[in-house]
Amino acid sequence: MNELLQQLINGLSLGAVYALIALGYTMVYGVLRFINFAHGDVFMVGAFTGMYFGRWLKPLAAAWPEWLFASTVLLVSMLSCAILGIVLERLAYKPLRERPRLTVLITAIGVSLLLEYAGQLVFGAAPRGFPSLITSSSISGIEGLHASNIQVIVLVVTALLLWGLHLVVMRTRLGLAMRALSLNPTAARLMGVNTNVVISFTFGIGSALAAAGAIFYASLYQAIDPFMGVLPGMKAFVAAVLGGIGSLPGAMVGGLILGVVETLVVGYSQLLGIPPGYRDAVAFVILILILLFKPSGLFGKTMREKV
Protein backbone atom coordinates (compact mmCIF):
# COMPACT_ATOMS: atom_id res chain seq x y z
CA MET A 1 0.00 0.00 0.00
CA ASN A 2 2.76 2.41 0.99
CA GLU A 3 4.65 1.52 -2.13
CA LEU A 4 1.60 2.35 -4.21
CA LEU A 5 1.26 5.71 -2.44
CA GLN A 6 4.94 6.35 -3.05
CA GLN A 7 4.54 5.63 -6.77
CA LEU A 8 1.50 7.90 -6.87
CA ILE A 9 3.45 10.79 -5.37
CA ASN A 10 6.30 10.31 -7.84
CA GLY A 11 3.82 9.97 -10.68
CA LEU A 12 1.86 13.06 -9.77
CA SER A 13 4.91 15.29 -9.58
CA LEU A 14 6.07 14.03 -12.98
CA GLY A 15 2.50 14.40 -14.25
CA ALA A 16 2.40 18.02 -13.07
CA VAL A 17 5.33 18.76 -15.38
CA TYR A 18 3.61 17.01 -18.28
CA ALA A 19 0.43 18.95 -17.56
CA LEU A 20 2.25 22.29 -17.66
CA ILE A 21 3.80 21.47 -21.05
CA ALA A 22 0.57 19.96 -22.37
CA LEU A 23 -1.28 23.23 -21.68
CA GLY A 24 0.96 25.01 -24.19
CA TYR A 25 0.18 22.44 -26.90
CA THR A 26 -3.51 22.58 -26.23
CA MET A 27 -3.75 26.38 -26.10
CA VAL A 28 -1.85 26.85 -29.35
CA TYR A 29 -3.92 24.14 -30.96
CA GLY A 30 -7.05 25.88 -29.73
CA VAL A 31 -6.31 29.17 -31.48
CA LEU A 32 -4.22 28.10 -34.48
CA ARG A 33 -5.19 24.44 -35.07
CA PHE A 34 -1.63 23.28 -35.33
CA ILE A 35 0.76 21.31 -33.17
CA ASN A 36 3.71 23.39 -32.12
CA PHE A 37 6.41 20.78 -32.47
CA ALA A 38 9.00 23.13 -31.00
CA HIS A 39 7.17 23.41 -27.69
CA GLY A 40 9.33 20.76 -26.03
CA ASP A 41 12.41 22.72 -27.00
CA VAL A 42 11.04 25.92 -25.50
CA PHE A 43 10.82 23.79 -22.34
CA MET A 44 14.52 22.98 -22.73
CA VAL A 45 15.42 26.66 -23.15
CA GLY A 46 13.44 27.37 -19.98
CA ALA A 47 15.59 24.90 -18.03
CA PHE A 48 18.84 26.41 -19.32
CA THR A 49 17.68 29.96 -18.65
CA GLY A 50 16.87 28.86 -15.11
CA MET A 51 20.28 27.26 -14.72
CA TYR A 52 22.30 30.25 -15.98
CA PHE A 53 20.19 32.81 -14.17
CA GLY A 54 20.18 30.77 -10.99
CA ARG A 55 23.98 30.46 -11.01
CA TRP A 56 24.37 34.17 -11.66
CA LEU A 57 21.90 35.18 -9.00
CA LYS A 58 23.05 32.78 -6.30
CA PRO A 59 25.99 34.85 -4.95
CA LEU A 60 23.99 38.09 -5.23
CA ALA A 61 21.02 36.66 -3.42
CA ALA A 62 22.93 35.00 -0.62
CA ALA A 63 20.98 36.94 1.98
CA TRP A 64 17.57 36.36 0.41
CA PRO A 65 15.14 33.84 1.81
CA GLU A 66 15.13 30.67 -0.25
CA TRP A 67 11.57 31.01 -1.54
CA LEU A 68 12.31 34.48 -2.94
CA PHE A 69 15.40 33.21 -4.77
CA ALA A 70 13.54 30.22 -6.21
CA SER A 71 10.54 32.22 -7.33
CA THR A 72 12.75 34.90 -8.93
CA VAL A 73 14.49 32.23 -10.98
CA LEU A 74 11.12 30.72 -11.87
CA LEU A 75 9.64 34.07 -12.95
CA VAL A 76 12.69 35.15 -14.98
CA SER A 77 12.73 31.82 -16.78
CA MET A 78 8.99 32.02 -17.48
CA LEU A 79 9.30 35.58 -18.77
CA SER A 80 12.22 34.82 -21.10
CA CYS A 81 10.44 31.79 -22.52
CA ALA A 82 7.30 33.83 -23.05
CA ILE A 83 9.35 36.27 -25.11
CA LEU A 84 11.00 33.39 -26.98
CA GLY A 85 7.61 31.89 -27.78
CA ILE A 86 6.24 35.18 -29.07
CA VAL A 87 9.33 35.82 -31.20
CA LEU A 88 9.25 32.29 -32.68
CA GLU A 89 5.60 32.70 -33.59
CA ARG A 90 6.22 36.08 -35.23
CA LEU A 91 9.23 34.95 -37.24
CA ALA A 92 8.41 31.38 -38.22
CA TYR A 93 4.68 30.71 -37.94
CA LYS A 94 3.03 34.05 -38.70
CA PRO A 95 4.14 34.18 -42.37
CA LEU A 96 2.49 30.77 -42.83
CA ARG A 97 -0.87 31.49 -41.28
CA GLU A 98 -2.92 30.81 -44.42
CA ARG A 99 -0.72 28.02 -45.77
CA PRO A 100 -1.49 24.27 -45.74
CA ARG A 101 -1.04 22.66 -42.36
CA LEU A 102 1.71 20.41 -43.60
CA THR A 103 3.87 23.45 -44.39
CA VAL A 104 3.38 24.77 -40.88
CA LEU A 105 4.14 21.35 -39.41
CA ILE A 106 7.43 21.10 -41.31
CA THR A 107 8.34 24.62 -40.20
CA ALA A 108 7.63 23.64 -36.61
CA ILE A 109 9.95 20.63 -36.98
CA GLY A 110 12.55 23.02 -38.38
CA VAL A 111 12.16 25.36 -35.41
CA SER A 112 12.44 22.39 -33.06
CA LEU A 113 15.69 21.21 -34.69
CA LEU A 114 17.01 24.75 -34.71
CA LEU A 115 16.48 25.17 -30.97
CA GLU A 116 18.00 21.76 -30.22
CA TYR A 117 21.14 22.18 -32.28
CA ALA A 118 21.60 25.87 -31.56
CA GLY A 119 21.20 24.84 -27.91
CA GLN A 120 23.90 22.23 -28.41
CA LEU A 121 26.21 24.91 -29.84
CA VAL A 122 25.54 27.42 -27.09
CA PHE A 123 25.11 25.18 -24.04
CA GLY A 124 27.31 22.23 -25.06
CA ALA A 125 26.13 18.68 -25.70
CA ALA A 126 26.97 17.18 -22.32
CA PRO A 127 24.36 17.09 -19.55
CA ARG A 128 24.71 19.90 -17.03
CA GLY A 129 23.84 19.96 -13.36
CA PHE A 130 20.91 22.13 -12.37
CA PRO A 131 21.58 24.30 -9.29
CA SER A 132 19.36 23.45 -6.36
CA LEU A 133 16.91 26.29 -5.82
CA ILE A 134 15.41 24.89 -2.65
CA THR A 135 17.37 22.77 -0.20
CA SER A 136 16.03 19.31 -0.65
CA SER A 137 14.70 17.56 2.41
CA SER A 138 12.61 14.50 2.93
CA ILE A 139 9.14 14.62 4.38
CA SER A 140 8.19 11.29 5.84
CA GLY A 141 4.89 11.11 7.61
CA ILE A 142 4.02 7.47 7.23
CA GLU A 143 6.46 4.63 7.63
CA GLY A 144 8.22 3.78 4.37
CA LEU A 145 6.76 6.75 2.51
CA HIS A 146 9.21 9.34 1.23
CA ALA A 147 8.23 12.53 -0.45
CA SER A 148 10.81 15.24 -0.95
CA ASN A 149 9.79 18.79 -0.21
CA ILE A 150 10.52 19.59 -3.87
CA GLN A 151 7.84 17.16 -4.98
CA VAL A 152 5.32 18.81 -2.70
CA ILE A 153 6.34 22.31 -3.79
CA VAL A 154 6.06 21.27 -7.44
CA LEU A 155 2.51 20.07 -6.89
CA VAL A 156 1.46 23.16 -4.95
CA VAL A 157 3.01 25.67 -7.35
CA THR A 158 1.56 23.82 -10.34
CA ALA A 159 -1.89 24.02 -8.76
CA LEU A 160 -1.38 27.77 -8.22
CA LEU A 161 -0.28 28.28 -11.82
CA LEU A 162 -3.25 26.34 -13.13
CA TRP A 163 -5.58 28.38 -10.97
CA GLY A 164 -3.98 31.58 -12.32
CA LEU A 165 -4.39 30.31 -15.87
CA HIS A 166 -8.03 29.55 -15.19
CA LEU A 167 -8.55 33.13 -13.97
CA VAL A 168 -6.77 34.57 -17.02
CA VAL A 169 -8.76 32.50 -19.50
CA MET A 170 -12.16 32.86 -17.83
CA ARG A 171 -12.05 36.34 -16.27
CA THR A 172 -9.99 38.63 -18.50
CA ARG A 173 -10.83 40.23 -21.83
CA LEU A 174 -7.80 38.59 -23.46
CA GLY A 175 -8.98 35.23 -22.17
CA LEU A 176 -12.40 35.90 -23.60
CA ALA A 177 -10.81 36.80 -26.94
CA MET A 178 -8.79 33.60 -26.79
CA ARG A 179 -11.88 31.50 -26.26
CA ALA A 180 -13.68 33.36 -29.04
CA LEU A 181 -10.81 32.75 -31.43
CA SER A 182 -10.71 29.05 -30.70
CA LEU A 183 -14.47 28.79 -31.17
CA ASN A 184 -14.61 30.53 -34.53
CA PRO A 185 -11.65 32.52 -35.90
CA THR A 186 -13.61 34.34 -38.61
CA ALA A 187 -16.43 35.40 -36.35
CA ALA A 188 -13.95 36.50 -33.67
CA ARG A 189 -12.14 38.67 -36.19
CA LEU A 190 -15.44 40.20 -37.35
CA MET A 191 -16.29 41.06 -33.77
CA GLY A 192 -13.11 43.10 -33.53
CA VAL A 193 -10.76 40.62 -31.87
CA ASN A 194 -7.18 41.47 -32.71
CA THR A 195 -6.08 37.97 -33.63
CA ASN A 196 -2.36 38.78 -33.78
CA VAL A 197 -2.32 40.01 -30.22
CA VAL A 198 -4.33 37.03 -29.00
CA ILE A 199 -2.10 34.54 -30.79
CA SER A 200 1.06 36.18 -29.40
CA PHE A 201 -0.49 36.15 -25.95
CA THR A 202 -1.35 32.46 -26.27
CA PHE A 203 2.17 31.57 -27.35
CA GLY A 204 3.55 33.69 -24.50
CA ILE A 205 1.45 32.01 -21.81
CA GLY A 206 2.02 28.52 -23.19
CA SER A 207 5.78 29.02 -23.31
CA ALA A 208 5.84 30.51 -19.81
CA LEU A 209 4.03 27.45 -18.45
CA ALA A 210 6.50 25.19 -20.26
CA ALA A 211 9.35 27.11 -18.62
CA ALA A 212 7.76 26.58 -15.22
CA GLY A 213 7.50 22.89 -16.03
CA ALA A 214 11.16 22.91 -17.04
CA ILE A 215 12.30 24.44 -13.74
CA PHE A 216 10.28 21.79 -11.85
CA TYR A 217 11.56 18.98 -14.05
CA ALA A 218 15.15 20.15 -13.66
CA SER A 219 14.71 20.50 -9.89
CA LEU A 220 13.33 16.97 -9.68
CA TYR A 221 15.92 15.29 -11.92
CA GLN A 222 18.83 17.74 -11.59
CA ALA A 223 20.42 17.15 -15.01
CA ILE A 224 19.62 19.12 -18.16
CA ASP A 225 20.84 18.85 -21.74
CA PRO A 226 19.89 20.38 -25.12
CA PHE A 227 17.78 17.36 -26.08
CA MET A 228 15.95 17.06 -22.78
CA GLY A 229 12.82 18.59 -24.29
CA VAL A 230 12.23 15.96 -26.96
CA LEU A 231 10.73 13.17 -24.90
CA PRO A 232 8.84 15.25 -22.30
CA GLY A 233 7.54 17.33 -25.20
CA MET A 234 6.19 14.30 -27.01
CA LYS A 235 4.74 12.83 -23.84
CA ALA A 236 3.06 16.12 -23.00
CA PHE A 237 1.56 16.10 -26.47
CA VAL A 238 0.18 12.66 -25.71
CA ALA A 239 -1.22 14.08 -22.48
CA ALA A 240 -2.90 16.87 -24.45
CA VAL A 241 -4.46 14.37 -26.84
CA LEU A 242 -5.47 12.12 -23.96
CA GLY A 243 -7.34 15.00 -22.33
CA GLY A 244 -8.80 16.15 -25.63
CA ILE A 245 -6.69 18.59 -27.59
CA GLY A 246 -7.95 22.15 -27.23
CA SER A 247 -9.34 21.53 -23.75
CA LEU A 248 -7.52 23.14 -20.80
CA PRO A 249 -8.87 20.86 -18.02
CA GLY A 250 -8.18 17.96 -20.38
CA ALA A 251 -4.50 18.86 -20.64
CA MET A 252 -4.19 19.05 -16.86
CA VAL A 253 -5.93 15.74 -16.24
CA GLY A 254 -4.16 14.09 -19.18
CA GLY A 255 -0.77 15.18 -17.87
CA LEU A 256 -1.43 13.82 -14.40
CA ILE A 257 -2.81 10.52 -15.73
CA LEU A 258 0.16 10.07 -18.02
CA GLY A 259 2.67 10.80 -15.27
CA VAL A 260 1.02 8.35 -12.89
CA VAL A 261 0.59 5.58 -15.49
CA GLU A 262 4.19 5.90 -16.64
CA THR A 263 5.51 5.75 -13.09
CA LEU A 264 3.29 2.80 -12.20
CA VAL A 265 4.34 0.83 -15.27
CA VAL A 266 7.99 1.32 -14.39
CA GLY A 267 7.44 0.76 -10.66
CA TYR A 268 5.50 -2.46 -11.16
CA SER A 269 7.38 -3.62 -14.24
CA GLN A 270 8.04 -7.07 -12.80
CA LEU A 271 4.44 -7.57 -11.80
CA LEU A 272 3.21 -6.49 -15.23
CA GLY A 273 5.91 -8.34 -17.11
CA ILE A 274 7.00 -5.20 -18.96
CA PRO A 275 10.75 -4.46 -18.82
CA PRO A 276 11.43 -1.00 -17.34
CA GLY A 277 13.22 -0.13 -20.59
CA TYR A 278 9.80 0.29 -22.16
CA ARG A 279 9.20 3.40 -20.07
CA ASP A 280 9.32 5.74 -23.06
CA ALA A 281 7.05 3.53 -25.13
CA VAL A 282 4.18 3.72 -22.59
CA ALA A 283 3.10 7.18 -23.71
CA PHE A 284 3.02 6.20 -27.36
CA VAL A 285 1.01 3.07 -26.70
CA ILE A 286 -1.48 5.24 -24.79
CA LEU A 287 -1.55 7.69 -27.69
CA ILE A 288 -2.28 4.99 -30.22
CA LEU A 289 -5.01 3.49 -28.05
CA ILE A 290 -6.76 6.86 -27.58
CA LEU A 291 -6.56 7.74 -31.23
CA LEU A 292 -8.07 4.37 -32.08
CA PHE A 293 -10.88 4.28 -29.55
CA LYS A 294 -11.60 7.87 -28.55
CA PRO A 295 -9.81 10.29 -30.87
CA SER A 296 -11.50 13.31 -29.28
CA GLY A 297 -9.89 12.50 -25.93
CA LEU A 298 -11.46 12.61 -22.49
CA PHE A 299 -12.76 16.19 -22.57
CA GLY A 300 -12.59 17.01 -26.26
CA LYS A 301 -15.44 17.70 -28.63
CA THR A 302 -15.78 15.71 -31.82
CA MET A 303 -15.54 17.91 -34.81
CA ARG A 304 -17.33 17.21 -38.03
CA GLU A 305 -15.44 17.66 -41.22
CA LYS A 306 -17.16 20.08 -43.54
CA VAL A 307 -16.60 20.15 -47.27
Binding site: F34, I35, A92, P95, L96, R99, P100, R101, L102, T103, V104, L105, I106, T107, I109, G110, V111, S112, L113, L114, E116, Y117, A118, Q120, L121, V230, M234, F237, V238, V241, P275, G277, Y278, D280, A281, A283, F284, V285, L287, I288, L291, L292, P295, E305, V307
Partner: protein, 331 residues
Protein backbone atom coordinates in the same frame (compact mmCIF):
# COMPACT_ATOMS: atom_id res chain seq x y z
CA UNK B 1 9.85 4.59 -76.97
CA UNK B 2 8.20 5.70 -73.79
CA UNK B 3 9.92 7.59 -71.07
CA UNK B 4 9.54 4.66 -68.77
CA UNK B 5 11.52 2.21 -70.90
CA UNK B 6 14.18 4.87 -71.40
CA UNK B 7 14.47 5.20 -67.65
CA UNK B 8 14.69 1.42 -67.36
CA UNK B 9 17.51 1.20 -69.89
CA UNK B 10 19.35 4.06 -68.21
CA UNK B 11 18.89 2.34 -64.90
CA UNK B 12 20.29 -0.95 -66.15
CA UNK B 13 23.24 0.84 -67.72
CA UNK B 14 24.08 2.71 -64.52
CA UNK B 15 23.62 -0.48 -62.55
CA UNK B 16 26.05 -2.39 -64.74
CA UNK B 17 28.59 0.41 -64.71
CA UNK B 18 28.45 0.70 -60.96
CA UNK B 19 29.06 -3.04 -60.64
CA UNK B 20 32.35 -2.41 -62.41
CA UNK B 21 33.41 0.31 -60.01
CA UNK B 22 34.47 -1.39 -56.87
CA UNK B 23 36.89 -0.61 -54.14
CA UNK B 24 37.62 -4.25 -53.33
CA UNK B 25 40.78 -5.31 -55.16
CA UNK B 26 39.70 -8.96 -55.22
CA UNK B 27 36.37 -8.15 -56.88
CA UNK B 28 35.32 -9.93 -60.02
CA UNK B 29 35.45 -6.94 -62.32
CA UNK B 30 38.27 -4.71 -61.21
CA UNK B 31 37.79 -2.58 -64.32
CA UNK B 32 38.02 0.62 -62.42
CA UNK B 33 39.37 1.28 -58.98
CA UNK B 34 38.08 4.30 -57.18
CA UNK B 35 39.07 5.93 -53.98
CA UNK B 36 37.69 4.10 -50.91
CA UNK B 37 36.39 7.27 -49.34
CA UNK B 38 34.49 8.29 -52.46
CA UNK B 39 33.19 4.75 -52.80
CA UNK B 40 31.78 4.85 -49.28
CA UNK B 41 30.05 8.16 -49.90
CA UNK B 42 28.59 6.82 -53.14
CA UNK B 43 27.20 3.77 -51.33
CA UNK B 44 25.71 5.96 -48.60
CA UNK B 45 24.23 8.19 -51.29
CA UNK B 46 22.60 5.16 -52.90
CA UNK B 47 21.10 4.05 -49.58
CA UNK B 48 19.83 7.56 -48.95
CA UNK B 49 18.26 7.64 -52.41
CA UNK B 50 16.30 4.48 -51.57
CA UNK B 51 15.18 5.96 -48.26
CA UNK B 52 14.16 9.30 -49.74
CA UNK B 53 12.38 7.84 -52.77
CA UNK B 54 10.47 5.38 -50.59
CA UNK B 55 9.46 8.04 -48.07
CA UNK B 56 8.37 10.17 -51.00
CA UNK B 57 5.57 7.71 -51.84
CA UNK B 58 4.03 8.39 -48.45
CA UNK B 59 4.96 12.03 -47.81
CA UNK B 60 5.05 13.29 -51.35
CA UNK B 61 2.75 11.36 -53.63
CA UNK B 62 0.09 10.38 -51.12
CA UNK B 63 0.35 13.58 -49.08
CA UNK B 64 0.55 11.84 -45.69
CA UNK B 65 3.26 12.85 -43.29
CA UNK B 66 5.28 10.02 -41.81
CA UNK B 67 8.04 10.69 -39.32
CA UNK B 68 8.87 7.07 -38.58
CA UNK B 69 10.85 5.99 -41.61
CA UNK B 70 13.93 5.15 -39.55
CA UNK B 71 11.85 2.56 -37.69
CA UNK B 72 11.19 0.61 -40.89
CA UNK B 73 14.82 0.95 -41.84
CA UNK B 74 15.70 -0.52 -38.45
CA UNK B 75 13.36 -3.48 -39.01
CA UNK B 76 15.03 -4.15 -42.37
CA UNK B 77 18.52 -3.77 -40.97
CA UNK B 78 17.97 -6.05 -37.99
CA UNK B 79 15.84 -8.48 -39.97
CA UNK B 80 18.49 -9.05 -42.60
CA UNK B 81 21.31 -9.07 -40.07
CA UNK B 82 19.43 -11.73 -38.10
CA UNK B 83 19.78 -14.01 -41.13
CA UNK B 84 23.37 -13.33 -42.12
CA UNK B 85 24.97 -12.65 -38.75
CA UNK B 86 22.94 -14.35 -36.01
CA UNK B 87 21.90 -17.43 -37.97
CA UNK B 88 24.54 -17.16 -40.67
CA UNK B 89 25.92 -20.70 -40.41
CA UNK B 90 22.57 -22.46 -40.44
CA UNK B 91 21.30 -20.34 -43.33
CA UNK B 92 24.46 -20.88 -45.33
CA UNK B 93 24.17 -24.63 -44.80
CA UNK B 94 20.65 -24.70 -46.13
CA UNK B 95 21.75 -22.68 -49.16
CA UNK B 96 24.71 -24.98 -49.84
CA UNK B 97 23.17 -26.09 -53.16
CA UNK B 98 24.22 -22.67 -54.52
CA UNK B 99 27.84 -23.66 -54.08
CA UNK B 100 30.27 -20.77 -53.85
CA UNK B 101 27.48 -18.28 -54.48
CA UNK B 102 25.81 -19.23 -51.21
CA UNK B 103 26.95 -16.16 -49.18
CA UNK B 104 25.78 -13.85 -51.95
CA UNK B 105 22.50 -15.71 -52.26
CA UNK B 106 21.99 -15.44 -48.53
CA UNK B 107 22.69 -11.70 -48.70
CA UNK B 108 20.07 -11.17 -51.39
CA UNK B 109 17.63 -13.37 -49.51
CA UNK B 110 18.29 -11.48 -46.27
CA UNK B 111 17.68 -8.16 -48.00
CA UNK B 112 14.33 -9.43 -49.23
CA UNK B 113 13.42 -10.83 -45.84
CA UNK B 114 14.36 -7.52 -44.22
CA UNK B 115 12.24 -5.66 -46.74
CA UNK B 116 9.26 -7.96 -46.24
CA UNK B 117 9.51 -7.69 -42.45
CA UNK B 118 9.59 -3.92 -42.77
CA UNK B 119 6.57 -4.08 -45.07
CA UNK B 120 4.75 -6.15 -42.45
CA UNK B 121 5.68 -3.56 -39.84
CA UNK B 122 4.39 -0.91 -42.24
CA UNK B 123 1.10 -2.75 -42.50
CA UNK B 124 0.85 -3.08 -38.72
CA UNK B 125 1.60 0.61 -38.25
CA UNK B 126 -0.41 1.82 -41.20
CA UNK B 127 -3.70 0.07 -40.53
CA UNK B 128 -4.45 1.83 -37.25
CA UNK B 129 -2.66 5.12 -37.78
CA UNK B 130 -3.73 5.99 -41.29
CA UNK B 131 -7.20 6.77 -40.04
CA UNK B 132 -5.54 9.92 -38.75
CA UNK B 133 -4.48 12.99 -40.65
CA UNK B 134 -1.75 15.58 -40.80
CA UNK B 135 -0.20 16.46 -37.49
CA UNK B 136 -1.68 13.48 -35.68
CA UNK B 137 -0.34 11.05 -38.24
CA UNK B 138 3.09 12.65 -38.00
CA UNK B 139 3.19 12.19 -34.23
CA UNK B 140 1.78 8.65 -34.32
CA UNK B 141 4.32 7.50 -36.91
CA UNK B 142 7.01 9.15 -34.84
CA UNK B 143 5.68 7.24 -31.85
CA UNK B 144 5.70 3.95 -33.73
CA UNK B 145 9.24 4.60 -34.92
CA UNK B 146 10.29 5.12 -31.32
CA UNK B 147 8.42 2.01 -30.16
CA UNK B 148 10.25 -0.09 -32.76
CA UNK B 149 13.54 1.33 -31.52
CA UNK B 150 12.68 0.72 -27.86
CA UNK B 151 11.64 -2.85 -28.67
CA UNK B 152 14.94 -3.58 -30.40
CA UNK B 153 16.80 -1.93 -27.53
CA UNK B 154 15.09 -4.30 -25.09
CA UNK B 155 15.60 -7.46 -27.12
CA UNK B 156 18.75 -9.08 -25.82
CA UNK B 157 18.99 -11.57 -28.68
CA UNK B 158 19.41 -8.64 -31.08
CA UNK B 159 22.19 -7.17 -28.98
CA UNK B 160 20.01 -4.77 -27.00
CA UNK B 161 21.36 -1.26 -26.60
CA UNK B 162 24.88 -2.44 -27.43
CA UNK B 163 23.90 -3.14 -31.00
CA UNK B 164 24.75 -5.94 -33.35
CA UNK B 165 28.30 -6.21 -34.65
CA UNK B 166 30.10 -8.45 -37.08
CA UNK B 167 27.56 -8.30 -39.90
CA UNK B 168 29.33 -9.48 -43.07
CA UNK B 169 30.19 -6.67 -45.48
CA UNK B 170 28.31 -7.74 -48.56
CA UNK B 171 27.04 -4.37 -49.71
CA UNK B 172 28.91 -3.08 -52.73
CA UNK B 173 28.37 -0.04 -54.87
CA UNK B 174 26.75 -2.21 -57.51
CA UNK B 175 24.20 -3.75 -55.17
CA UNK B 176 23.34 -0.42 -53.62
CA UNK B 177 22.72 1.38 -56.86
CA UNK B 178 20.98 -1.61 -58.40
CA UNK B 179 18.49 -1.60 -55.53
CA UNK B 180 18.11 2.16 -55.60
CA UNK B 181 17.47 2.18 -59.34
CA UNK B 182 14.93 -0.59 -58.91
CA UNK B 183 13.21 1.40 -56.21
CA UNK B 184 13.20 4.58 -58.32
CA UNK B 185 11.77 2.60 -61.21
CA UNK B 186 9.13 0.84 -59.10
CA UNK B 187 7.99 3.99 -57.35
CA UNK B 188 7.98 5.94 -60.59
CA UNK B 189 5.94 3.35 -62.45
CA UNK B 190 3.61 2.81 -59.52
CA UNK B 191 2.77 6.48 -59.24
CA UNK B 192 2.44 6.97 -63.00
CA UNK B 193 0.19 3.96 -63.44
CA UNK B 194 -3.59 4.16 -63.60
CA UNK B 195 -3.73 2.66 -60.13
CA UNK B 196 -1.19 5.20 -58.92
CA UNK B 197 -3.41 8.15 -59.81
CA UNK B 198 -5.25 7.20 -56.66
CA UNK B 199 -2.27 8.25 -54.52
CA UNK B 200 -2.25 11.68 -56.12
CA UNK B 201 -6.02 11.96 -55.73
CA UNK B 202 -5.73 11.22 -52.01
CA UNK B 203 -3.05 13.88 -51.72
CA UNK B 204 -4.85 16.56 -53.68
CA UNK B 205 -8.22 16.26 -52.02
CA UNK B 206 -9.04 13.37 -49.78
CA UNK B 207 -12.74 14.14 -49.49
CA UNK B 208 -13.18 14.55 -53.23
CA UNK B 209 -11.23 11.34 -53.85
CA UNK B 210 -13.46 9.46 -51.44
CA UNK B 211 -16.54 10.91 -53.13
CA UNK B 212 -15.24 9.60 -56.47
CA UNK B 213 -15.16 6.11 -55.03
CA UNK B 214 -11.48 5.85 -54.21
CA UNK B 215 -10.78 3.70 -51.18
CA UNK B 216 -8.52 6.25 -49.51
CA UNK B 217 -7.50 4.06 -46.58
CA UNK B 218 -6.39 1.31 -48.93
CA UNK B 219 -4.29 3.71 -50.97
CA UNK B 220 -2.71 5.17 -47.89
CA UNK B 221 -1.89 1.75 -46.46
CA UNK B 222 -0.51 0.61 -49.83
CA UNK B 223 1.75 3.67 -49.98
CA UNK B 224 2.87 2.99 -46.44
CA UNK B 225 3.64 -0.68 -47.06
CA UNK B 226 5.54 -0.05 -50.30
CA UNK B 227 7.49 2.74 -48.64
CA UNK B 228 8.31 0.54 -45.66
CA UNK B 229 9.44 -2.32 -47.93
CA UNK B 230 12.02 -0.17 -49.69
CA UNK B 231 13.09 1.40 -46.40
CA UNK B 232 13.67 -2.16 -45.17
CA UNK B 233 15.85 -2.90 -48.20
CA UNK B 234 17.81 0.26 -47.48
CA UNK B 235 18.21 -0.85 -43.88
CA UNK B 236 19.53 -4.24 -44.99
CA UNK B 237 22.02 -2.64 -47.35
CA UNK B 238 23.10 -0.25 -44.62
CA UNK B 239 23.63 -3.05 -42.09
CA UNK B 240 25.76 -5.01 -44.54
CA UNK B 241 27.69 -1.90 -45.48
CA UNK B 242 28.60 -0.58 -42.02
CA UNK B 243 28.73 -4.07 -40.48
CA UNK B 244 27.41 -2.77 -37.18
CA UNK B 245 23.95 -1.56 -36.18
CA UNK B 246 22.68 0.04 -32.97
CA UNK B 247 19.13 1.06 -32.05
CA UNK B 248 20.39 4.63 -31.54
CA UNK B 249 21.33 4.82 -35.21
CA UNK B 250 17.65 4.59 -36.16
CA UNK B 251 16.33 7.32 -33.91
CA UNK B 252 13.90 10.08 -34.74
CA UNK B 253 16.79 12.17 -36.09
CA UNK B 254 17.46 9.62 -38.82
CA UNK B 255 13.83 9.95 -39.89
CA UNK B 256 14.24 13.71 -39.93
CA UNK B 257 17.29 13.37 -42.18
CA UNK B 258 15.18 11.53 -44.73
CA UNK B 259 12.31 13.99 -44.38
CA UNK B 260 14.71 16.85 -45.09
CA UNK B 261 15.81 15.11 -48.29
CA UNK B 262 12.22 14.68 -49.41
CA UNK B 263 11.25 18.26 -48.61
CA UNK B 264 14.35 19.72 -50.18
CA UNK B 265 13.87 17.71 -53.33
CA UNK B 266 10.23 18.67 -53.51
CA UNK B 267 7.52 16.41 -52.18
CA UNK B 268 6.15 14.25 -54.94
CA UNK B 269 9.03 14.71 -57.36
CA UNK B 270 11.01 11.47 -57.66
CA UNK B 271 13.78 13.10 -59.67
CA UNK B 272 14.05 16.02 -57.29
CA UNK B 273 14.17 13.77 -54.26
CA UNK B 274 16.87 11.59 -55.83
CA UNK B 275 19.03 14.61 -56.57
CA UNK B 276 18.45 15.98 -53.08
CA UNK B 277 19.41 12.66 -51.45
CA UNK B 278 22.68 12.46 -53.38
CA UNK B 279 23.40 16.14 -52.87
CA UNK B 280 22.75 16.05 -49.15
CA UNK B 281 24.93 12.96 -48.68
CA UNK B 282 27.86 14.74 -50.27
CA UNK B 283 27.06 17.94 -48.39
CA UNK B 284 27.04 15.99 -45.11
CA UNK B 285 30.51 14.69 -45.87
CA UNK B 286 31.76 18.12 -46.88
CA UNK B 287 30.40 19.60 -43.66
CA UNK B 288 31.82 16.84 -41.48
CA UNK B 289 34.37 19.29 -40.10
CA UNK B 290 31.59 21.67 -39.09
CA UNK B 291 29.34 18.94 -37.72
CA UNK B 292 27.75 21.05 -35.01
CA UNK B 293 26.79 23.80 -37.46
CA UNK B 294 25.38 21.38 -40.02
CA UNK B 295 22.08 20.68 -38.29
CA UNK B 296 21.60 24.34 -37.36
CA UNK B 297 21.99 25.19 -41.03
CA UNK B 298 19.58 22.41 -42.06
CA UNK B 299 16.98 23.60 -39.58
CA UNK B 300 17.24 27.18 -40.83
CA UNK B 301 17.08 25.93 -44.40
CA UNK B 302 13.90 24.02 -43.59
CA UNK B 303 12.21 27.06 -42.05
CA UNK B 304 13.25 29.48 -44.78
CA UNK B 305 12.32 26.98 -47.49
CA UNK B 306 8.84 26.53 -46.03
CA UNK B 307 8.28 30.28 -45.89
CA UNK B 308 9.64 31.11 -49.33
CA UNK B 309 9.41 27.97 -51.45
CA UNK B 310 7.24 25.25 -49.86
CA UNK B 311 7.33 23.06 -52.97
CA UNK B 312 11.03 22.35 -52.34
CA UNK B 313 14.14 23.52 -54.16
CA UNK B 314 13.60 21.20 -57.09
CA UNK B 315 9.86 20.62 -56.82
CA UNK B 316 7.37 22.12 -59.22
CA UNK B 317 9.68 21.66 -62.17
CA UNK B 318 7.49 18.88 -63.47
CA UNK B 319 10.14 16.29 -62.80
CA UNK B 320 12.79 15.16 -65.21
CA UNK B 321 10.12 13.51 -67.31
CA UNK B 322 9.57 16.84 -69.01
CA UNK B 323 12.92 16.57 -70.73
CA UNK B 324 12.52 12.98 -71.72
CA UNK B 325 11.24 12.18 -75.19
CA UNK B 326 7.72 10.87 -75.50
CA UNK B 327 6.20 13.12 -72.90
CA UNK B 328 6.67 16.45 -74.62
CA UNK B 329 6.37 18.35 -71.38
CA UNK B 330 2.67 17.76 -71.26
CA UNK B 331 2.68 15.49 -68.26
Amino acid sequence: MGARSLVLIAALAVGLVSFCFTGHPEAAWPLAQIDDYLLNILILAGINVILAVSLNIVNGHTGQFSLGHAGFMAVGAYGSAALTQLNGKACLASLSFLGSAAPLGLFVLSLLVGGLLAALAGLAVGLPSLRLKGDYLAIVTLGFGEIIRVMIQNTESLGGARGLAGIPNHTTLGWTWLVSLISIYCVGSLVNSTYGRGFLAVRDDEIAAEAMGINTTRYKVTAFVVGAFFAGLAGGLYAHFIGYVTPEGFSFLKSVDVVVMVILGGMGSTAGVTVAAIGLTFLNEALREAEQYRMVAFALLLIILMITRPQGLLGGLGGLARWLPGKGGKS
